[in-house]
Amino acid sequence: MEGIISTILKYLAVFATGGALCLIGQLLINYTKLTPARILVLFLVLGVILQAVGVYQAVVDFGNAGATIPIIGFGYSLAKGAMEGAKIGFLEAISGGFKAVTIGIDSAIFFAYIFSLIFRSRTKKC
């Protein structure tokens, strides 16, 4: 029983954290003239800074996927990788950030390439 309650609480935290981050994004879309691309870059930089000053790990511990799935988690992974690399040496400090997110970028490029060869744009059909 306790396991079920803690699972539900964990998923509620995931939902609340992820939802809140998207809500902030929507606030930026509604009340500023920022385009989605700028908002993504802004979130990314925010994630890097928050992790670099040591704040975001607490958000991740609370929200789990709710904190890592939004693009701000991408920035968090970048900064985390760079910080861990810096403990090893100079080259790792430079490459550590990208190494941490390369799975996301590689898969995005690969799937986009394959799907673009297979599928057609819907707007061009009609």
Binding site: Y11, V14, F15, G18, G19, A20, L21, C22, L23, I24, G25, Q26, L27, I29, N30, P36, A37, I39, L40, V41, L44, V48, A52, N64, A65, G66, T68, I69, P70, I71, F74, G75, L78, A79, G81, A82, M83, A86, K87, A93, I94, G96, G97, F98, V101, I103, G104, I105, S107, A108, I109, F111, A112, Y113, F115, S116, L117, I118, F119, R120
Partner: protein, 151 residues
């Protein structure tokens, strides 16, 4: 003649009146709910992988989650479902990592007609390019700072 009477101020008013009004509260709620649901899907994938492969390291599990979420975002974009979600979800579909996949796949398919190199391969970085460049620059700066202060 009527055109001259239509000065800037009147025009702005005219545009403002016929422009579809955004229902702020509704878009905010939709962004929150859809964003939250996407993150819950990510958490479910995470928990399932952990249950199936308990020997996997934490970072490896997260990498699999990223891989699957990117696949889902990319595939739903390709079959046209993600754009439908985006119409009512707004930032709820942009901010999660699936939105990043969408921003790569969508222009790749859109500009397919311009060829593989100038269409697919260069246009897929219209949004992803700035994200990758900003990310790398920031992470290298962080790495160097931590190297200097000996983190």
């Amino acid at each position: 003649m009527q055109r001259q009477n239509f000065d800037n101020k009147a025009y702005k008013e005219y545009v403002h009146n016929i422009m579809p009004r955004t229902n702020h509260l509704k878009t905010l709620i939709m962004a929150f709910v859809v964003g939250g649901i996407i993150c819950i899907i990510g958490q479910i994938i995470h928990d399932v992988i952990r249950a199936l492969f308990p020997y996997l390291e934490r970072d490896a599990v997260n990498s699999y989650v990223t891989l699957i979420m990117i696949f889902l975002g990319s595939f739903l974009t390709a079959i046209g479902v993600y754009d439908d979600i985006g119409k009512f979800a707004g930032a709820g579909s942009i901010v999660p990592i699936t939105g990043f996949a969408n921003s790569v796949t969508s222009p790749a398919i859109e500009y397919k007609s311009e060829g593989v190199i100038y269409g697919i391969e260069s246009k897929m970085f219209v949004v992803a390019g700035p994200i990758i460049v900003t990310g790398i620059v920031c992470s290298v700066i962080v790495g160097i700072i931590y190297l200097i202060i000996g983190g």
